[in-house]
């Protein structure tokens, strides 16, 4: 279970990018996170993944505190940024192997996995090529395969559907469903409100660093759709 307690962060000591944010993501949750540009979505995702440090508050996952048990915490999660800045001179395969080695995934364990997801995302023929030759979508797929290779307990994704072709988007949604059914948690931000509405079991809406609405998707939405609720709240 991911527990975020009273998380606050400011970049300029004036305006708060995160303002007393508290969230709980349980095993099996497929949690959608929506908000305007600059509302604080990426800041929170980066804080959970250890890229940003909070000014105040705590983040823990399965009893591990991000500041005290940093490496153990990180070994259970995976983060895919909106514009994956991968090592461009490596081939796709070398990059995935690098991440697998970091997480100590054995060759026997990683190989069928890479074949499976590489095949699903239609990336197998391209994994021998340097990442610098990839399109944005191909980099996104490579980052996704690498993020999934160690079967993280918590998957964090920033705008995961941007740049993906329709088939890859469909596959990713299927992967999300199967992962959550297996008890893993997924927390992702998106501007594609229809996807968030249909896919998630929980959502949170963030505005100017504050969570203004959160809960079970069905309960939060009621009779409305997410788009009309979002427009109403913003």
């Amino acid at each position: 279970m991911l527990i975020i307690q009273n998380a606050s962060k400011s970049y300029d000591k004036k305006k708060k990018a995160l303002d007393d944010v508290s969230l709980i993501i349980k095993p099996g949750d497929l949690f959608g996170f929506v908000g305007h540009n600059g509302a604080g979505k990426t800041t929170l995702l980066k804080a959970i993944s250890g890229i940003h440090q909070l000014d105040a508050g705590n983040i823990s996952f399965e009893g591990l505190d991000i500041n005290k048990d940093t490496l153990a915490f990180k070994s259970k999660i995976a983060y895919v940024p909106d514009h994956p800045d991968l090592y461009e001179q490596l081939t796709g395969r070398q990059y995935i192997d690098f991440i697998a080695d970091v997480f100590k995934v054995s060759i026997q364990d990683r190989e069928p996995f890479i074949q499976q997801y590489g095949g699903s995302f239609e990336m197998l023929p391209f994994l021998k090529q340097p990442i610098s030759t990839y399109s944005h979508g191909m980099k996104q797929k490579t980052a996704l395969i690498a993020a999934l290779v160690h079967r993280p307990r918590l998957l964090l994704l920033d705008e995961p559907f941007v740049g993906l072709d329709p088939k890859a988007s469909f596959i990713l949604k299927e992967i999300f469903k199967s992962m959550t059914q297996a008890g893993m948690s997924i927390f992702f931000s998106s501007h594609v409100l229809e996807v968030v509405e249909k896919l998630t079991n929980k959502i949170a809406i963030i505005k100017q660093g504050k969570i203004i609405h959160q809960g079970l998707t069905k309960e939060v939405l009621g009779n409305q759709n997410l788009e009309s609720l979002f427009m109403e709240l913003s």
């Binding site: 890229i51 153990a72 940024p81 461009e88 490596l90 080695d101 970091v102 610098s132 030759t133």
Partner: protein, 526 residues
């Protein structure tokens, strides 16, 4: 984990594709040619250095001072360490650009710092082959040292650059910290960097006779460490070898232990910038060319490594012109010496200005420095030829004023007549235009947009390497034509003919460049 990271960094930073660009990496013939050019360039530099060091060694051997060469080796390794630390640390060790990738991974910060420092050292080692190893090789040969001494030398040489590399990194970071909150942070950092590098170089070169001895007394404790190196390498003294290696490793591990935490915080807080001195944004409309040249100027003064490396010639000419105004009698003595040697004094002016201009190779790298912006530029309704022109014009804007000023000062001090001065100035201006066109070709042939740090383009790209050597070759050809091929001709006629030849090359080169500009740009992608 350390080995895994280092292997990944080496693959990423030293891959053939990264060093030479995608275009060349795809062509086997071009790859072989480029490796040949590089081997030739490194070979020429190393062999020249070996010859020079051999001459020095013979003199030192007479006075029983061969060990001075080992002091030089450890000094040059340390200086290389400082320079690479200074130029690489920002963006690679501090506020590194792959933090978003490495940050979420379960790798300890100490391992990341150790791997990054090791990678920085790899670059020092590569350049040590040109700078320090020829000196050691000559010492080894002249002093008839044994193979065993090589085994003592290698580990000591590997750790020698560490302390000053760490110092250079910290200085670079401190400069960044001092200036980062100002809106013109990059410009301030460039100015401070130039001042610092000039001071560092001056301190390295000036002898005790020029600077007060008290200035050097602060360095006396470091002589002891140099002694350890010399005694370890020359006398095969195991105790001093261990002392030297141990001292350097203690510094390294202390840095890693104490700095890993602060480094993590620095990287995590990298967006916490609040700029001071927010100026009003002026709203004005100007020509596309004006915008493009202005953009070039801002990048030039805002990128320390770009400014220091390609602006060196301009700084040198400005400095020499200024200083020469205060020593007219010395200049006249030089003039008399040159005349006594049977040469015309103005060719010294050509050699000095030509050398300086060969190092101002902005068109050879400015296109690559666009990086991913090249896609944006290509998408705009601007002709490729206009973009190329802007880069050539920018180089001329930088160099023409100093050509005029330094030629004026040089010819006045050398008592050269006005008609000769005008012809000389025309020839030098045309030479600079020729160089600019040549440099532009280099960047079109060897573009490199996929860099992480500007230093990779400005100092380590193929275009920059060929630019400097090519510029010197053009100068050599010019002097050969003037002092050998056209030797029987009148001085004014020679200057006129040289200007004419340069003009023809520029017109042909420019015409071909204009014709091919669009085709070159079509091949560019990031």
């Amino acid at each position: 984990m350390y080995r895994l990271l280092l292997r990944t960094f080496v693959r990423e930073r030293l891959s053939f594709r990264r060093l030479f660009g995608q275009k060349i990496a795809r062509s086997k013939i071009q790859s072989v040619l480029m490796v040949g050019v590089l081997i030739y360039a490194f070979g020429v530099t190393s062999i020249s250095n070996i010859i020079l060091q051999y001459e020095i060694a013979q003199t030192l051997e007479v006075v029983d001072g061969l060990s001075q060469m080992l002091y030089q080796v450890v000094g040059s390794l340390s200086s290389l360490g400082f320079l690479f630390g200074f130029f690489q640390a920002q963006g690679y060790l501090f506020q590194y650009k792959d933090f978003d990738l490495l940050g979420p991974l379960p790798i300890s910060q100490k391992t990341i710092v150790a791997a990054k420092l090791s990678m920085m050292l790899v670059f020092v080692y590569l350049f040590a082959f040109i700078v320090a190893l020829p000196t050691y090789g000559v010492w080894w040969f002249v002093s008839e040292a044994s193979i065993l001494q090589v085994f003592f030398f290698v580990p000591m040489a590997m750790v020698a650059p560490i302390p000053l590399m760490l110092l250079g990194s910290l200085v670079s970071f401190m400069l960044r910290k001092l200036t980062q909150r100002w809106i013109h942070a990059n410009v301030l950092q460039t100015i401070f960097s130039v001042m610092f590098i000039i001071s560092f170089t001056a301190f390295n070169f000036l002898s005790n006779e020029i600077l007060p001895s008290s200035w050097f007394s602060i360095l006396e404790p470091f002589d002891v460490i140099g002694d350890w190196f010399v005694k370890g390498v020359a006398d095969l003294n195991i105790w001093f070898t261990f002392m030297f290696i141990g001292f350097h490793l203690v510094i390294l591990f202390t840095f890693i232990s104490f700095m890993s935490g602060p480094l993590l915080k620095i990287n995590q807080q990298r967006s916490n910038l609040m700029y001071k001195g927010q100026d009003k944004i002026p709203i004005r409309s100007q020509s596309v060319m004006h915008h493009l040249i202005q953009k070039e100027w801002k990048r030039f003064i805002g990128t320390s490594v770009y400014f220091i490396n390609t602006g060196f010639g301009i700084l040198m000419l400005t400095f020499l012109s200024f200083v020469s105004l205060f020593i007219p009698s010395t200049i006249l003595e030089v003039r008399q010496t040159i005349i006594a040697m049977g040469f015309e004094p103005l060719w010294l002016i050509v050699a000095i200005i030509g050398f300086a201009l060969s190092t101002v190779y902005t068109p050879a790298v400015s296109l690559s420095l666009e990086g991913k912006n090249i896609n944006l530029l290509k998408s705009l309704p601007i002709q490729s030829w206009t973009m190329i022109q802007s880069k050539i014009y920018f180089n001329l804007v930088l160099t023409l004023p100093i050509i005029v000023v330094s030629t004026l000062i040089g010819t006045i001090l050398f008592q050269i007549e006005i008609p000769t001065m005008i012809l000389l100035m025309s020839m030098l201006i045309m030479f600079e235009i020729l160089l600019s066109v040549f440099f532009m070709y280099l960047n079109l042939w060897f573009p490199r947009f996929d860099f992480h740090q500007e230093v990779e383009v400005v100092k380590q790209s193929l275009a920059s390497l060929v630019a400097v050597f090519g510029g010197f070759s053009f100068l050599g050809a010019l002097l050969w034509l003037a002092l050998d091929f056209f030797i029987g001709f009148d001085l004014h006629l020679r200057l006129f003919l040289l200007t004419l030849i340069e003009l023809v090359v520029v017109v042909l080169g420019g015409w071909f460049l204009k014709r091919k500009a669009e085709a070159y740009f079509q091949t560019f992608s990031v």
